[in-house]
Symmetry: C2
Subunit: 249 residues, 2 copies
Amino acid sequence: MTTTIQPARKRKKTSPIAGPSLLAGPFGHSGSGAVTQLLTDRQRQQLAAVAASLRLPSGTSLYEQQSQAGSIWIVDSGVVKSWRILADGKRQVTAFLFAGDLFGLAENGHYVNSTKAVTAVTLYRIAVDVLTDILRRDPELEFQFLCKMAHELRELQRRSIIVGRRDAPGRLAMFIAMLAREQTGTDVTSHTIPVPMSRMDIAEFLDLTPEAVSRATRRLKTDGIAIFQNRHAVRIVDRDRFEQLVGSV
Amino acid sequence: MTTTIQPARKRKKTSPIAGPSLLAGPFGHSGSGAVTQLLTDRQRQQLAAVAASLRLPSGTSLYEQQSQAGSIWIVDSGVVKSWRILADGKRQVTAFLFAGDLFGLAENGHYVNSTKAVTAVTLYRIAVDVLTDILRRDPELEFQFLCKMAHELRELQRRSIIVGRRDAPGRLAMFIAMLAREQTGTDVTSHTIPVPMSRMDIAEFLDLTPEAVSRATRRLKTDGIAIFQNRHAVRIVDRDRFEQLVGSV
DNA sequence: CGGTTGGTTGAGCTGTATCAAAAGATGTGG
DNA sequence: CCACATCTTTTGATACAGCTCAACCAACCG
């Protein structure tokens, strides 16, 4: 485990591309932000050699649920949403993916969800057969992928915990805390937290109706906990009560 | 991908131990039951050589949330429940683990949930440092662990979907369907499905109160969909309406 | 600038959590 | 084998939170 902490926001979009990055705790990461680069420079170069590097505008569809899965993807910058359509026709946003996140794992050779760029994004795309070849030859690298998947597992569990909460304001607060962790390095600063996705996306992630999300935002405001300065930025005003609402999961 | 389908129920507890087993779809498994053994006989023997094999009575605690994580575990037979205590003091059952399931992944060297045997179980326990050593030397084996984790990820997503449903009877139906898939090989037969865990365990898994679970069971009965013959066995009476209630996720 | 989509606000309904208590299971010791 | 104590499960009555439906407001885009 060499390497240093490398928050996503520090990487400029215009800088020379260093190659794909996997961010996670090496079988460990306390949930409070210490996410580190898993790959060595050599490994990143190796992956870069076989990866397509894409720069796509906001709103671009990457792939559709059920379609043939030929690649796995890594976020370099920007935000991607992943969702699936349930049997009853409802959408469920299963994850928001940030810099260093891996996505596009297939089931039976088909993608299990659809994905779309929420913001402008830069991505790496690697053909699965090429990747599996490399992984079989490089146990160290493969081990890092394993770590990454363990990380994903824990993130998913975290979402379960959020959705497990009954009250909408609590869910929203946890969501904001997640955004803060994911985007601004460590924990909630008293500064402004960007909220790139739409209310509907949020609702579908938190398993609420858009109405409930709207009322929850108002609730946070009237309670003097957090204020949406505009539709894509929140500011925590009472940090203590915010943390208290979030609860330390 | 050699090997054959090997449902858990077919393995007798008294038979000579063949070594640990990992069951999953090799980056693919349609959700309708085709779960296969991932490991070759050689790999299973290799793991068996370093694994402790345990036979434990129902109710045995395996490890506690937060405790030092020294081993990873594989279920050979029986059922294990995994849960965590949330910030507000509530329990959340994160998973029920069946034959071929892997558990005990650590975060920062500590377990993230507690586990306990729901039934009498036989388990394999492997020290993490020994395992990581083996994995680094054997990319093929490591690749199977990767497949297994991808499988776990999908299972967790499946739970999210279940809990996403608003109505208790629907959640319970999906849970029963899950039990059927997991325990009796393929899909819901019209036969009796064993329900090894308590109502409270079910409630904590489905994120409902025990009362809600109780009422949901009664609902399924009065609607003529499924009948609990006793506390640990259900029978589907109207398969079509059951499937319809479950919805094909 | 209309049209379209996304977001907010309001009134009533549904279903689950809660609180309280009875009925069944389970286990122990006489 | 029964009686008692304990825990689990079920049943009932009430309150509350979010869903639904419907309307209104705001923003975005040609």
